[in-house]
């Protein structure tokens, strides 16, 4: 989908910058956040389709950020990205409704295709909701 609104959250600034560039080349509209707090602030102001979220960050960790995103914006799909899959965070993440879980280092194309899948899912759900709305 064109113009996917994507937010990348990670504490590595360089990663944000480069990935943002790569995703923009793939026709996404990319915002970046260096921390969970910042991410939530951006979300409060702007609509997002997909969030790529690093699990291990100083301050608020990824799982907590995910929980809050799902509370406030249940339709936003979140892809977790982590240095390593830990059972707790993975299980918790999936329970909290993360779209998927990717291991670092992750190939950009794989990441992009995950983003696309997430967008598809979001659209499907929105359509269902709209249908439901119409039915009412």
């Amino acid at each position: 989908m064109l113009n996917t609104r994507l937010m990348i959250v990670d504490d590595e600034e360089r990663f944000l910058k480069t990935t943002k560039g790569l995703m923009e080349k793939r026709k996404c509209i990319v915002s970046t956040a260096l921390s969970g707090i910042e991410a939530l602030e951006i979300l409060a102001k702007q609509e997002m389709d997909v969030v790529i979220l690093d699990v291990k960050m100083p301050g608020m960790d990824g799982v907590e950020v995910l929980r809050r995103i799902k509370q406030t914006h249940p339709l936003v799909e979140v892809i977790m990205l982590t240095g390593h899959s830990t059972t707790e965070s993975a299980v918790e993440g999936m329970k909290l409704g993360a779209f998927d879980y990717l291991l670092k280092p992750c190939d950009i194309n794989i990441l992009f295709s995950k983003v696309m899948e997430a967008v598809d899912k979001k659209q499907t759900r929105e359509q269902q909701m709209n249908q439901g709305g119409k039915d009412r």
Binding site: E12, R14, F15, T18, T19, G21, L22, K25, K56, L81, G83, H84, S85, T86, T87, E88, A90, V91, L103, K104, P105, C106, D107, I108, N109
Partner: protein, 565 residues
């Protein structure tokens, strides 16, 4: 760790548990035995003394009686009547009906002239004035002689009494029948060898001694019981085991003779000897039994201690290993995690460069293809190397993972043979026998089949590697269950681990294989997986003898994350 040889422990145990109590026991037994023997010995001696004293009284009685009889005769008759041979014969006859002790009777005047005689010998008319007995009689009034030969030249002794009338002094003498007296004295029975005899003050036999010793001979053992002699006392001579006889010597009251009762010590102390022997046998037997059981117990204990010691050392080693692994696990998680971030950035940057480069391509001159190909090659290489790093960090994380596993019912007894089949061909090429011993009734467990497969394959590959270039290679796999777990063992008789390598075996990147042959992540991954499945894996090995990996998988996995260590 102090290495006590089991023998030293055994010796110590035997000494401490056994020797001291045994010494005490033996001392107690010996003391009791000693006192008992002593007491019994004294009892025996006292018994002999009592017998001797009783017998002495009997003999004293005999003398007293005979004296009294003669006294009565001399007092109730006159010299005139007594000097008549016929009367004297009659008197003797009367006496002999009374007692067989009297052999003859004689009457003497004050000068020792034999006035009248009744008896078997021809002694009438002889003068006894110079005989020792007559002199003694003259002084004392009553006289009992020692045995002597006299005129008749036969051993005998006499009893004589004196009467002093107003007019004159005269004497009556009676000879005592030697055989009768002998019988009287000898008539005693103590054990087998007990005997009684009489000696005079010089140790001359006054009666026969049954065990050798004729009348009037010198008793060669006389000094044995005279040394301790003191007046009118009974005493024991001998009685020590180095003497042949136990003596009880009692002085007679009526005569300066000594009644000796003696018994061979072997005979006298036979009951003691027997009881001493029995007690000795009991002590020895008991001691031997105690010693044997003690020795066996000590051996068992020493062995058990040895086993416990080995187990303890084994456990300590395992603990050290587990601690090390936990530490390394924590460290490598951190490292892997930290490295993954830069790798992610590199990957992203590389992707960016590649894409930008693709954008550049159309803007380039025709002649740049070759350079472009080289640059592309370098990009690919960077990609490959980043991937390589990623594999390594993944391996590290796997070792210390808090696993992510899908639990499904797994049958070890079906899963294992499948995996053995996978390596079967390789094993046959290397000429290795694989023996499977599986309990067919193993219960299904909830586990991750894929991960278990990885574990078993890894262990089998290791075993095959350990058996390369070795003859008679064998891998034994057995699986049994106990109350809470399934125990799976992989044993081989391959090259084994040294103590140092054993401690490092599960560490990531530790490998004994040459560079390029192994990553050192195999066993660390195995360790991580088993830990993650709630189990345990331990390694026991002997260099050049073989190794055994023991896996313990719980029958009931609590489905929760398991931290390593």
């Amino acid at each position: 760790m102090k290495q006590d040889k089991p023998n030293t422990i055994k010796r110590m145990l035997v000494f401490r548990l056994l020797m001291l109590p045994m010494v005490v026991l033996l001392l107690v037994c010996a003391t009791i035995a000693f006192y008992l023997i002593n007491y019994s010995g004294n009892q025996i001696k006292n018994e002999l003394m009592r017998t001797a004293a009783d017998h002495r009284n009997l003999i004293d009685c005999f003398f007293a009686e005979k004296k009294a009889t003669l006294k009565f005769i001399i007092e109730s008759n006159t010299l005139a009547s007594m000097s008549d041979n016929t009367f004297l014969k009659k008197l003797l006859k009367n006496l002999q009906t009374e007692s067989k002790a009297f052999v003859d009777l004689g009457v003497f005047d004050e000068n020792g002239n034999h006035l009248a005689y009744a008896g078997p010998y021809d002694l009438a008319g002889k003068n006894y004035g110079d005989t020792p007995w007559f002199k003694g009689l003259r002084d004392k009034g009553v006289y009992i002689s020692d045995e002597f030969m006299g005129f008749r030249n036969v051993p005998h002794f006499i009893i004589a009494v004196k009467r002093m009338d107003n007019s004159r002094t005269w004497y009556v003498r009676a000879t005592i029948d030697t055989y009768f007296f002998n019988d009287l004295v000898e008539n005693i029975r103590i054990g087998k060898t007990g005997e009684a005899y009489i000696v005079n003050s010089n140790g001359i036999f006054q009666t026969r001694r049954r065990s050798g010793g004729r009348l009037m001979e010198q008793d060669t053992e006389f000094n044995l019981y005279t040394t301790a002699k003191h007046a009118a006392a009974s005493f024991c001579a001998g009685g020590r085991f180095n003497l042949e006889h136990l003596y009880a010597a009692v002085p007679l009251k009526q005569k300066n003779w000594t009644l000796v009762v003696r018994q061979a010590t072997t005979d006298a102390f036979a009951p003691i000897a027997i009881s001493a022997l029995i007690s000795f046998l009991i002590i020895a037997g008991g001691g031997a039994a105690v010693a044997v059981t003690g020795y066996i117990m000590a051996s068992n204990m020493a062995n058990r201690l040895k086993i416990a010691d080995v187990e303890k050392r084994e456990m300590t080693t395992q603990l050290i290993i587990a601690g090390k692994l936990a530490e390394v696990g924590e460290m490598s998680t951190g490292i892997a995690h930290e490295i993954n971030n830069p790798l992610q950035i590199m990957k992203a940057e590389l992707a960016m460069i590649e894409e930008l480069f693709m954008d550049l391509v159309p803007l380039m001159d025709k002649g740049a293809e070759e350079i472009m190909a080289q640059v592309k090659d370098s990009f690919d290489q960077i990609g490959i190397q980043i991937q390589r790093c990623a594999t390594i960090t993944r391996g590290l994380l796997n070792f210390a993972r808090k696993t992510d596993h899908k639990l499904t019912p797994v049958k070890i007894q079906t899963l294992l043979p499948q995996i053995v089949q996978m390596v079967d061909h390789r094993a046959r090429v290397e000429d290795i026998r694989i023996v499977q011993e599986m309990d067919p009734d193993l219960p299904e467990i909830m586990s991750d089949a894929n991960q278990l497969q990885q574990v078993f394959l890894n262990l089998l590959n290791n075993s095959i590697y350990a058996l390369e270039q070795r003859s008679q290679g064998e891998i034994r796999i057995n699986a049994v269950k106990n109350s809470a777990d399934i125990i799976i063992r992989f044993s081989d008789n391959g090259c084994g681990f040294s103590r140092e390598t054993m401690e490092k075996a599960f560490l990531p990147f530790f490998t004994t294989k040459p560079v390029g042959k192994g990553t050192g992540l195999g066993l660390s991954t195995v360790y991580g997986i088993i830990k993650g499945l709630g189990g345990e894996i331990t390694l026991t090995s002997e260099l050049n003898q073989g190794s055994t990996f023991t896996i313990r998988l719980p029958l009931n996995v609590k489905d929760q994350s398991h931290e390593t260590a």
